[in-house]
């Protein structure tokens, strides 16, 4: 990078809007992870019920 050494860089690169988008993106990544885990939980639930049904038949 050409100009790293001179400035302490208090200047923000992102605009307010871009900052908001960055925030949203971090939140979205959390949501995706939670959704993945939730989907797997449902899968487990389905499998369990399936087995239960077979056994109680």
């Amino acid at each position: 990078m050409p100009d790293d050494k001179k400035q302490p860089q208090p200047n923000s690169i992102l605009t307010k809007e871009q900052e908001a988008i960055l925030d949203l993106y971090v939140i979205r990544l959390d949501e995706i992870f939670e959704e993945l885990k939730a989907a797997d939980k449902i899968q487990v639930e389905i499998e369990t019920r399936h087995l239960k049904k077979i056994l109680t038949k």
Partner: protein, 268 residues
């Protein structure tokens, strides 16, 4: 010899298709390219982190990297290469693109400013900021005096001064809503818009809104569910949210009105 008999009676095939749960996972061959592509993206994210290191946003970009890596690990552990690829295509690629472009443009501007007199660059910047501030200051002083006057007037009247606030909305990321767009004088087509819409659909929507509201440089953020003030029916409406001029607005297409809103943001 036993191999011969086995091949003769066809029993050699037994076991070929068996999958034993609990054994260390081997990744299916056809998913390998996905995994490699995904690793390449992770490396790119890491590079982005180091490029943003000296900015105030370093921590958040770092978070994006960590969280993306977490999803990557989760899906690769379970051998779900396709889902991983889909996730990257819909998210990481766009993110990488946007924030690389932002940084590049910023650096270019920076370099152009600095080239003429490197040594004095700091003074020049400081001076122009100062000039701006002085101009801004006098305006602000004037405005303040006026508002003090107005406040004094209102204090003497019976009205109370309303306090404005932006309602907080939560983006809905999975549902799409339909809007009508007039293609020609007497033909209307329905279009869909949602958080998961592709670039083309979002482009179509923003140009539709630009035209209808006569505002420019807007971008589509997502949908959200809200109650409108003064509407007779009490059901909430799913409506699009746009970003314009650095602020978020809920779009009421029927009334051609914008309502300023804010999204929930963690502050620390």
């Amino acid at each position: 010899m036993s191999n011969f008999w086995r091949s003769l009676f066809g029993s050699k095939k037994a076991g070929n298709n068996r999958k034993v749960i609990g054994l260390p996972k081997t990744i299916p061959v056809n998913e390998l390219p996905h995994i490699q592509e995904s690793k390449r993206r992770l490396t790119a994210l890491q590079q982005l982190c180091s490029q943003y290191k000296s900015t105030p946003h370093a921590r958040q970009i770092e978070q994006v990297y960590q969280k993306t890596r977490r999803i990557h690990a989760y899906l690769t552990d379970r051998g779900r290469g396709h889902e991983l690829e889909l996730f990257h295509l819909q998210h990481t690629d766009h993110f990488l693109n946007t924030f690389t472009v932002i940084l590049n443009v910023h650096l270019q501007h920076h370099n152009v400013q600095q080239e003429p007199e490197v040594a004095n660059s700091r003074k020049v910047v400081a001076k122009s900021v100062k000039r701006d501030m002085q101009a801004g200051l006098s305006y602000r002083n004037l405005n303040r005096r006026v508002s003090e006057q107005v406040l004094e007037d209102t204090k003497q009247s019976v009205y109370s001064v309303p306090k404005l606030s932006l309602p907080e909305i939560a983006l809905n990321t999975y549902s799409r809503l339909v809007y009508l767009k007039e293609e020609t004088a007497d033909m209307q087509l329905t279009h869909e818009i949602g958080y998961t819409s592709d670039e083309e659909e979002k482009e179509a929507f923003t140009s539709f809104v630009s035209e209808k509201f006569d505002i420019h440089d807007i971008s589509y953020i997502g949908n959200t569910i809200v109650y409108f003030p003064g509407h007779a029916h009490t059901t909430a409406d799913l409506v699009p949210v746009i970003s314009w001029n650095g602020g978020l607005y809920v779009v009421c297409l029927e009334e051609v009105r914008l309502y300023p809103v804010s999204t929930f943001r963690k502050r620390d």
